[in-house]
């Protein structure tokens, strides 16, 4: 099997800027305070994901999950090390980003599809499917400004989930909207997985990870702490002993 994602000793550091204006910086210098700090959001991480694998990336808030995802999607470049991918990387990231509120839902679909990397022919081919999926009825031809938040989310989701990707990445709750829409999203995700698409999925929800993934990576303060089976990964994170047990990202339950 070929590697679809190769991460080799990738490190990404961020500068924390405490002060920005010249006055603040001068004052901070005088008082001997730090004006900025550097830290590694992703620290020497190596991993590979093979074709057709479905990997869940877990970790506490601020452990570097989103940064690693951004390195893989190509939004950011690693400061050192390499991140290689094969084919088109797309999926549920920033759904609805770039919507123009004054423009109709349909025109926004075209624009959003293009932003996600779809060609004109591809969009034309999938348009009906996407509009069906969003299921907004007549609202599809009114400006997005008049949409409810749920409708806007559905529109964004409908495009993102229908992009043909070689590597499908997701960085948010897999289901939005009402129960029927959630169900539809779930079915679609299952379909994507069964098609053999490589999936890279960031989640806090053990239920969703159990259902969707066959491998778990756990990040801890930017370092890769665990790489292995799903159950072990969840145990490693102590996400299994939850007495609250609410799995609201909802792939696992809610069937």
């Amino acid at each position: 099997m070929a590697n679809f994602i190769e991460v080799e000793n990738a490190t990404k550091s961020f500068t924390m800027q405490y002060h920005r204006s010249i006055k603040q910086i001068a004052l901070a210098r005088m008082r001997g305070m730090k004006t900025h700090d550097r830290f590694n959001a992703v620290d020497d991480v190596s991993c590979t994901v093979q074709q057709g694998e479905s990997v869940g990336l877990m970790g506490l808030n601020g452990s570097g999950k989103s940064t690693l995802l951004k390195l893989i999607s190509g939004v950011m470049q690693p400061d050192s090390g390499r991140v290689m991918t094969r084919g088109r990387v797309a999926g549920l990231i920033a759904t609805g980003a770039g919507f123009q509120s004054q423009v109709s839902g349909r025109d926004n679909l075209w624009l959003n599809a293009a932003i996600l990397g779809m060609s004109e022919a591809e969009t034309r081919r999938k348009m009906d499917e996407i509009i069906d999926f969003a299921d907004l009825g007549k609202f599809i031809d009114t400006p997005v400004a008049y949409y409810s938040s749920g409708m806007k989310a559905r529109l964004g989701f409908a495009v993102a989930i229908n992009v043909e990707a070689d590597i499908f990445i997701a960085d948010e709750a897999l289901a939005v909207g009402d129960r029927p829409f959630k169900k539809k999203c779930k079915l679609k995700m299952r379909e994507i997985r069964e098609n053999g698409t490589t999936i890279f999925f960031v989640s806090h929800a053990p239920g969703a990870v159990i259902e969707l993934c066959d491998r778990v990576l756990v990040l801890e303060k930017g370092k890769l702490g665990f790489d292995g089976g799903v159950q072990e990964g969840i145990k490693y994170l102590h996400y299994d002993d939850g007495d609250d047990g609410d799995d609201d990202e909802g792939l696992g339950q809610d069937d």
């Binding site: 074709q51 190509g74 939004v75 990387v89 990231i93 004054q102 624009l111 293009a114 060609s119």
Partner: protein, 303 residues
């Protein structure tokens, strides 16, 4: 369903190549994704007059009103337009088209990365896309004003000559390329320090007065005839050159005596200057791209 699905069943799997996740070919990549560029420009233009009763009519009304204001103040009130600038309206509007295109390309372009933050920090795309799209939107917005210019010129008896049209084309190209180069440089700098959009605003305020628009070029040559260095310095401004090229197209053929105006109203080396500045603005664009690519690495985290 998936893009590589054909390779899965195939006997000789032809997988897409393993490449760096973050690859950027700058403006070339923008050209490669011109379909996205087109949609981006179109929806921006669409959004501009969405929800207005008059719609696209505004795109004519606004420049027309602006023109009337200038014309009233400088021709009627101050009595600026003497015989040496006749017809003053055309002299003026040639400048306005160029100045407006330039300042909007520069100003809007400088802000374009910050104002598209939501996309840039989340989705991989060539970031040069935004200054370029802004430039094209500005070009689109310039057309109503050009239409007005041509309409009024024809009313006054203007007939296009090939050399004149070439001059107008050069003017627009010069301002577009230069404006884009500046927008690229300043937009990425603006991510690190928002001061740069203020710098741009301040700089562009000078533009109106640093070009022969509300006063003729002959005045500059005349006032500084004792110190030709100043006139020389004045003509180093590419926007002034572009305005003169525009006037070569529309204003010159309409003057009382084009043969005289050609000598008095324009520098002797109008064309060679134009060509050199055009070449230099392309060089500036190349340098801007190098600078942009260098700083762009840290853009998503600093936005």
């Amino acid at each position: 369903m998936m893009a590589a699905s054909t390779t899965m069943e195939g006997t000789t799997p032809e997988l897409p190549p393993l490449v760096q996740a973050s690859h950027n070919n700058g403006l070339l990549e923008v050209f490669r994704r011109r379909y996205l560029l087109r949609l981006l420009v179109r929806s921006t233009v669409q959004a501009r007059y969405q929800g207005t009763f008059l719609g696209w009519f505004w795109s004519y009304l606004q420049p027309a009103v602006r023109f009337c204001m200038y014309y009233f103040v400088f021709q009627v009130l101050i009595g600026r337009g003497g015989p040496d600038v006749y017809p003053f309206a055309i002299h003026l509007v040639c400048g306005m088209v160029i100045v407006h295109f330039f300042t909007e390309t520069f100003n809007g372009g400088t802000r374009s990365l910050v104002s598209n933050r939501g996309l840039i920090v989340k989705l991989p795309m060539p970031r040069e896309l935004f200054p370029v799209a802004n430039m094209l939107v500005c070009l689109w917005q310039t057309t109503p004003m050009l239409v007005i210019t041509i309409f009024v010129s024809v009313l006054l008896g203007w007939t296009p000559d090939p050399l004149g049209l070439l001059a107008a084309l050069m003017a627009i190209l010069l301002v577009g390329v230069l404006g884009l180069a500046l927008a690229l440089m300043f937009s990425v700098a603006n991510v690190f320090f928002r001061d740069f959009s203020k710098v741009t605003q301040t700089l562009t305020q000078f533009t109106t007065f640093s070009v022969p628009m509300i006063y003729p070029y002959s005045m500059v040559a005349d006032r500084f005839s004792k110190v030709p260095e100043v006139a020389h310095l004045y003509m180093l401004n590419p926007v002034a050159e572009a305005v003169l090229l525009m006037q070569r197209c529309f204003w010159l053929p309409l003057t009382n005596d084009p043969a005289v105006s050609r000598v008095e109203g324009f520098p002797p080396d109008l064309w060679s200057r134009g060509v050199i500045m055009l070449v230099l603005s392309f060089v500036a664009l190349g340098l801007a791209q190098v600078w942009f690519s260098k700083l762009e690495r840290r853009v998503p985290e600093r936005l």
